[in-house]
């Protein structure tokens, strides 16, 4: 078949290996400590340079495998530093800073995500990062954090280690307004949002099947079942769209930007809906900070602040209507 949406053997292997690594090194329960993630294991896995050409040769994988990997990162609520590193390595490589790119891929040069906000940028899980990747609408900028004094700020429900630049001006060493990079950013952000949505669905179904009230699992109540079915539908649509968008971007198809923008909307919607519903289905424990549900919810909100899908009406959709066809498009 010339068209095939099954995972191939290579893809199954790398995703399987990634799952094992993530289960071992990034269990979601680690989030209870509210410390910036240590991304060394991910760097060692090769996560940040997956789709970059290696040693002047071909890249080992494409943006398709990278997107599927980022779904798993989303499932494990991995720091947005992983996103920042993957994109910063591209930006550095695109602008001729191959040493910097190599350091980022190897994990020796840390990069955190930064979000353009009122007053000054917010730094997410900065940890030891010496660079920040600023998500500024459709543009990405690489900031050198040398000599920058940043102070912790209270994040939503103390959920995510956030800092704000207190003094000093971060030196912008590269900026990109390139559509392909912006689309790649949105693809990976969306992949993580999808991962969050899927994890919230699975966590909730497992809880509903276990938790007993009125002498039966609450998962037997139809109101609960239908909440879960809604989560499944949203995640499935976003997941099918992820395949479509990732393939379109990899193959540089004309509809790539549109497919990514559509994905961005669907993934964000699924992540917010599923995590919100997860809180509800968990009842009191879902509202508590002692269960993990709130980490997913907050991650969904954080991710939805990164990047900016291209305008959904700005581009032609793939199934153009008849008139355009007759005009000889």
């Amino acid at each position: 078949m010339t068209c095939d949406l099954n995972l191939n053997e290579d893809q199954r292997q790398i995703l399987g290996a990634a799952s094992v690594m993530l289960e071992a090194s990034y269990p979601v329960a680690r989030r209870r400590q509210r410390r910036p993630d240590d991304l060394a294991e991910l760097a060692a896995f090769g996560a940040f340079g997956l789709a970059l050409p290696q040693d002047g040769g071909e890249a080992g994988y494409s943006v398709v495998e990278e997107a599927l990997l980022h779904v798993l990162l989303g499932r494990h609520v991995v720091s947005t530093g992983a996103l920042a590193a993957s994109l910063a390595a591209r930006l550095a490589a695109n602008t001729g800073r191959s040493d910097l790119a190599d350091g980022i891929v190897a994990g020796t040069t840390g990069v955190c995500a930064a979000i353009a906000a009122k007053d000054s940028a917010l730094l997410v899980e900065r940890g030891e990062a010496s660079f920040a990747l600023l998500f500024d609408g459709r543009e990405l900028a690489l900031l050198d954090m040398d000599g920058i004094d940043a102070r912790p700020v209270e994040s939503l429900g103390h959920g995510i280690p956030l800092q704000r630049i207190a003094s000093g001006e971060a030196r912008e060493i590269a900026r990109s307004a390139d559509d392909e990079l912006a689309d790649t950013a949105d693809l990976l952000i969306s992949a993580q949002l999808l991962g969050v949505a899927e994890a919230a669905r699975d966590l909730t179904v497992a809880y509903a099947n276990m938790r007993q009230q009125f002498g039966q699992p609450i998962g037997g109540f139809q109101a609960i079942k239908h909440h879960c079915a809604n989560m499944a539908v949203g995640a499935e649509m976003a997941s099918a769209q992820l395949d479509m968008a990732a393939i379109a971007l990899r193959d540089r198809r004309a509809d790539a930007s549109f497919q990514v923008a559509a994905l961005r909307h669907l993934a964000e919607k699924a992540a917010i809906f599923n995590t919100r519903t997860a809180v509800q289905v968990h009842g009191g424990i879902g509202f508590s900070a002692e269960a993990d549900v709130h980490h997913y919810l907050k991650q969904a909100h954080l991710l939805s602040r990164l990047g900016a899908g291209a305008g959904l009406l700005a581009m032609p959709a793939p199934l153009a209507p008849h008139e355009a066809l007759i005009r000889g498009e």
């Binding site: 068209c3 949406l5 879960c228 959904l312 009406l313």
Partner: protein
């Protein structure tokens, strides 16, 4: 994972496009009755004459035996050319009765019925639902008693789409007297011209008369018309549902991609306006539905019930698109134009073929593995 069409695929697309543009009727299909039958059969016969029916059906029964990607291409060009709606009175035969006969029927049944279906010679309808058995189909009570080499059917079906213009019906009946629920049922081919059948058409809320009640008074059906084994009808019906929920609606799902573009063109929303945001989001969802359609055809299903995810997404999304159309039309929405018609018809998309609530039950219980508790 790839979606790369070969040159031959692209050639197929170009040929399909050209043929559709030259041949798709420009006049609107009559909404119901004998005229709708004549129109639909003439169109199907024309498709067949030029090799455009049964794209993915096996060649030995008159199909083209082409791949799933060709099927997708065909439907994409079909909806872009605004060819007649796939949901006309040929729908049941082409999309689930025919495929069921192919999957479960005898050689004689296949050889007789499949070429007639593809050739645009016959209309089929479905007789599953009864007044007392809708969502709970297994509660059906229409009986068929074995009498020599015949079944004798007595009872009533309802909501049987196109029954007033149909030649055959996929009929689900209780053949084992005293049997309960899923046991003792049979899926039989019923000749709608048989003695003892009365059809009472029912007008729907869109003002058209698609479906009907069917009454059976000692209707004799040869035992050789049983498909998939006597008393094994539930299994055959599940095969029918498999097609109904998985592949039957491909054309309809893709058609929504064209409808949303038409709606955007109609609305001409100001950038940044609430209407622009709403239409942009709907456009994204329609793209997601198309991706789900691709996935349904081009990926091994993880679960036999996966079709319910697409079916439910489609039904609710179609309704949202047409609700938006009603808002955009303003007072004109009160006139019986095509958007208003589509809007009213779209209410059926979360009822027919298993309601949205039933699809949610299926997703929860069979895909997510949640407990089945009464």
């Amino acid at each position: 994972m790839r979606l790369s069409l070969t040159e031959a695929d692209e050639e197929f697309r170009a040929t399909a496009r050209e043929w559709l543009l030259a041949n798709a009727p420009k006049d609107r299909a009559p909404p119901d009755g004998q005229a709708s039958r004549d129109y639909a059969l003439a169109w199907l016969a024309r498709c067949h004459r030029d090799g455009w029916s049964g794209i993915s059906w096996p060649t030995e029964y008159g199909g083209r035996g082409l791949s799933q990607e060709r099927l997708l291409i065909w439907y994409e060009e079909y909806v872009r050319a605004r060819a007649p709606s796939v949901l006309d009175c040929t729908f049941v035969a082409l999309n689930h009765a025919g495929p069921t006969v192919f999957a479960c029927g005898t050689e004689e049944q296949k050889a007789f019925h499949l070429p007639r279906i593809l050739g645009g010679k016959v209309i089929w309808c479905q007789g599953f639902s009864e007044p007392g058995a809708g969502s709970d189909l297994a509660a059906l009570s229409t009986s068929a008693v074995v009498d020599g080499d015949h079944l004798v059917v007595n009872g009533q079906k309802i909501w049987s789409s196109f029954a007033d213009v149909a030649d055959y019906q996929e009929l689900l009946v209780r053949t084992l007297p005293g049997s309960k629920r899923h046991q003792g049922l049979s899926w039989v081919i019923c000749d709608m011209k048989s003695k003892g059948i009365t059809v009472r058409p029912i007008e729907n809320m869109a003002g058209v008369t698609h479906f009907a009640e069917v009454f059976y008074d000692n209707v004799r059906i040869p035992l050789s018309n049983v498909v998939g084994g006597l008393h094994e009808g539930w299994k055959t019906a599940m095969t029918t549902f498999g097609f109904e929920r998985k592949t039957a609606a491909i054309g309809l799902q893709l058609e929504l991609s064209v409808k949303i573009e038409d709606l955007i063109a109609l609305a001409e929303p100001l950038p940044g306006s609430a209407t622009a945001v709403r239409l942009g989001e709907l456009r994204a969802e329609v793209a997601g539905l198309r991706s789900m359609t691709y996935r349904a055809l081009l990926r091994e299903p993880a679960n036999a019930s996966d079709g319910s995810l697409v079916r439910l997404s489609f039904g609710e999304l179609a309704q949202r698109v047409y609700r938006a159309a009603m808002d955009i039309l303003g007072p004109d929405a009160l006139l019986n134009g095509s958007w208003t018609h589509d809007y009213l018809e779209s209410y059926s998309e979360t009822i027919a073929g298993g309601t949205a609530e039933i699809q949610r039950n299926i997703i929860a219980e069979r895909i997510l593995g949640m407990p089945r508790i009464k």
